[in-house]
């Protein structure tokens, strides 16, 4: 990624930074800064300095300094984002929160946990689990990603279909606005809101409005048991019909994952997983709840899953059986890695009833552009991961991929969908945003951004186009 010629950071700025975080919490050496210039997208840009804050007060001071000196500021959790939101496009300072990793309070009586933004999702799950709870957002990157990043991106995983995304599972925030003001939003009660809902406004804003230093997360009791089902259909129409029927009955599954025909073929090629010959689409379904309610829940799902295209319905109860059923789904990632280690992975959303049209449209685009496309994802809420299996080092393939992606987004919007369900906008999708948001809405978002960050120091040129 190209970076314009940058002025060196003012010496007084660096001196003040050292005063604030201490020398051992500041990097200015190019080689050391390099590692903080990328995330899990293809982007990279060299930051001029990297500061590791260890307290809210330090963040407050740092934002003040950046405002005073007009230094671009990029907040970074663990850098696992996939859309370039932590890439410091204009150099400046990267503020890493990875050392703000304390769990401040676990409060089982009020079902909440208060933690600093740099704590990983997995650490939260462990701390909550000790008291019989969990925090619903479950991105696959849970072991590495920070809750600050989860909130900034509104990241989620399979469980969102039943338990919602971070927006639904956060009670309040402590944050520093782009203007350098301290904010406390929300309350310790059941998501009580006084005034406008700033908590939800900041969640999903990708670090463009405020830096989250602390979050109060709402916990959910761990269910006593779980059942896993694998259901195979002869085509995508039958599978989508089943998804709609499953979502419309009262037992909401805690996972409703889907993989398409191209993905099934891939699993066949690269694993020993056994699937019916004419399998055209596969659903992995999980239900949770008290032990005694499980068999009724499975029956309800089975009933809803039945249609003309149903080829097989397998249910697992024991740990081994569950592992065996998931093996099919889990064989997919290594297979994809073998075929296209640097694939492009998009996460679009369409209404559930439009999934077949989306998948058919994608098949056509794949043929038209000579690109293999494999789709899987969270079918229960129409959030589909569209994978373009290309080699980004091949300029011809890359060009075809860009043209294809453009048409993928057009298709998604035609189907009344959204460009992203969980991976966010960052740099990667910024220029497509005006296609989804209307002109007035975009203008208003830009003015909200200015209210929070008048000097435009936070994640400049990301998330919203100018």
């Amino acid at each position: 990624m190209s970076v314009e010629m940058q002025e060196p950071l003012p010496t007084t700025f660096i001196t003040k930074l050292i005063e604030c975080v201490g020398e051992k919490n500041l990097l200015t050496d190019k080689n050391e800064c390099w590692n903080y210039g990328y995330d899990n997208s293809r982007g990279h840009a060299l930051p001029q300095a990297v500061a590791f804050a260890i307290s809210h007060e330090q963040v407050l001071t740092i934002v003040g300094l950046c405002n005073q000196h007009k230094i671009p500021l990029t907040t970074r959790g663990r850098g696992t984002g996939t859309t370039g939101a932590t890439v410091p496009l204009h150099g400046g300072l990267v503020l890493s929160l990875e050392r703000m990793n304390k769990i401040i309070r676990v409060d089982p009586a009020n079902r909440l946990i208060v933690a600093e933004a740099g704590v990983t999702n997995k650490e939260i799950q462990i701390a909550a689990g000790e008291h019989g709870f969990f925090w619903p957002p479950d991105p696959t990157s849970a072991a590495f990603c920070s809750i600050g990043g989860n909130l900034a991106y509104n990241s989620a995983g399979p469980r969102a279909v039943k338990y919602g995304t971070p927006r639904d599972n956060v009670l309040g925030l402590r944050a520093v606005s782009g203007a350098g003001d301290e904010l406390r939003t929300g309350t310790f009660t059941t998501k009580g809101v006084v005034g406008y809902d700033l908590t939800r406004l900041i969640i999903g804003s990708e670090g463009t409005l405020a830096i989250i230093t602390e979050a109060t997360l709402k916990l959910t009791p761990l269910p006593a048991s779980k059942r896993t089902m694998r259901v195979v259909y002869n085509d995508i129409f039958s599978a989508s019909q089943a998804v709609a029927a499953i979502m419309a009955q009262p037992v909401t599954p805690c996972a409703l994952e889907f993989i398409d025909h191209a993905a099934i073929e891939m699993i066949r090629d690269f694993s020993t997983a056994k699937l019916p010959d004419n399998a055209g689409a596969l659903l992995m379904i999980e239900v949770d709840g008290p032990n005694s309610a499980m068999s009724d829940a499975v029956d309800s799902i089975h009933e809803a899953a039945k249609n003309k295209g149903l080829l097989s319905f397998d249910e697992a109860t024991s740990a081994e059986e569950i592992a065996a059923l998931w093996a099919t789904r889990k064989a997919l990632s290594p297979a994809l890695r073998k075929v296209a280690p640097k694939k492009i992975n998009e996460d679009v959303v369409v209404p559930v009833s439009h999934i077949p049209e989306l998948i058919n449209g994608l098949e056509k685009l794949a043929t038209q552009h000579g690109i293999k496309i494999v789709n899987f994802g969270h079918a229960g809420n129409g959030n589909i991961h569209v994978n373009l299996l290309i080699d980004p080092d091949d300029p011809v393939e890359m060009k075809a991929a860009h043209e294809c992606l453009d048409e993928v987004f057009t298709l998604v919007l035609k189907l009344e969908g959204s460009l992203s369900g969980e991976h966010g906008v960052g740099i990667e999708k910024r220029d497509y945003i005006p296609r989804e948001l209307d002109k007035n809405a975009l203008k208003l978002m830009q003015s909200i951004r200015l209210e929070f960050d008048p000097e435009k120091i936070l994640n400049q040129d990301k998330t919203l186009p100018d």
Partner: protein, 355 residues
């Protein structure tokens, strides 16, 4: 009735913007008592003839409705497909429109277990204070493109824009519902909620008053039976009516003497030392109190427990209806209001004395 008045509303607001004329947006006026009293000299802009279900796909679990549509009408449309709004919106005096439901942001007894109206609003289209039409979000369950404005509009009391229509998430109705009653004091109930709170039980509402603890269970037959065996108590007859009366403030409790305050507290907070009758809802997180205590005493006490207090039906603006905001947050609110409504013509002073 189906009628689209977007154009008329737009022209009206444009005109008011040009002439700095204030307007009072209203639906059925069923929640007029809620929040600050608005100057009755302001021109009324009623949404009630802007009606109709624009789109309803039961299998997509979402309904898109014009703001003036009566809530009762929408609920009966959902009922036909055995679906519902999971957040149990109140219908004071059996009235209320979809726009009012969203603008007031009020949810009923199911709220801590099934989410709030905010959780359910997936998209809105609205007119800002210049009369510009803005569309946010959509009909899909997940969407991270841009800021979450739909949720900002929810509960903003019409101060940020006139809601034209909204897409709202709906849920299938549970297979079975029963309510159990146990003789328990407030202190005992708070302990019971603690014990039950760390188990995944099929509880869909729970409140305590008059030495009785009420627990509603909803789910499939086995899940309800399981929870019932854990909780005990006696089944309540006419339980549907009971929860409706609680939701719509029709229980005798709400008619008693004293001002009605709503305290929002962390569920496990002990009983506060305030005079007057208390009804605890939301398994401890929402406490209704009928009291003559001063606003200072009430708010101070709530704050000391990390909560906040609203005077639910203030007779006038002498006492602020909503809990005062911290200075930094208050400033941001003002700036947000300015971004949506630069001249300040939409429901002025409805939320705070500042704008």
């Amino acid at each position: 009735m189906t009628q689209d008045l977007s154009k008329e509303f737009q022209e009206k607001i444009e005109d008011c913007f040009d002439n700095s004329r204030c307007i009072n947006i209203c639906g059925h006026d069923s929640k007029q008592f809620y929040g600050r009293t608005i100057n009755n000299q302001y021109e009324k802009l009623s949404t009630i003839e802007h009606q109709g279900v624009i789109d309803y796909q039961p299998t997509e679990l979402v309904i898109t409705v014009r703001s003036g549509t009566p809530l009762a009408e929408v609920e009966s449309v959902l009922d036909e497909k055995n679906q519902m709004f999971a957040f149990e919106p109140p219908q004071f005096n059996q009235q209320g429109t979809i726009g009012g439901m969203i603008a007031s942001g009020l949810s009923g007894p199911a709220r801590p277990f099934a989410g709030s109206v905010r959780d359910a609003v997936l998209g809105v289209s609205c007119l800002n204070g210049k009369g510009e039409k803005l569309v946010y979000g959509g009909q899909v369950m997940k969407n991270v493109a841009g800021y979450d404005i739909s949720r900002l509009m929810t509960g903003s009391m019409g101060t940020l824009g006139l809601i034209l229509d909204a897409s709202i998430k709906v849920m299938p109705k549970p297979e079975q519902t029963i309510t159990l009653v146990l003789e328990q004091s407030a202190e005992q109930a708070l302990q019971t909620w603690q014990k039950l709170g760390n188990q995944a039980l099929a509880i869909s509402a729970s409140c305590q008053f008059n030495e009785q603890l009420y627990i509603r269970l909803s789910g499939n037959a086995a899940a309800v039976k399981h929870a019932q065996s854990m909780i005990g108590g006696e089944p309540l007859k006419e339980d549907k009516q009971f929860w409706q009366q609680l939701r719509d403030h029709e229980l005798d409790f709400f008619q008693g003497p004293g001002s009605l305050w709503r305290l929002s507290l962390a569920g496990a907070t002990m009983q506060l030392n305030l005079s007057g009758d208390t009804l605890i809802d939301w398994a401890g997180a929402q406490r209704w109190i009928k009291t003559d205590e001063s606003d200072n005493v009430i708010r101070h006490l709530c704050e000391s427990h990390g909560g906040h207090a609203a005077l639910f039906a203030p007779p006038d603006n002498k006492i602020e209806a909503f809990h005062p905001l911290a200075p930094g947050i208050a400033l941001l609110h003002k700036q947000l209001k300015q971004a949506f409504d630069p001249v300040g013509i939409l429901n002025p002073l409805r939320m705070t004395a500042d704008y």
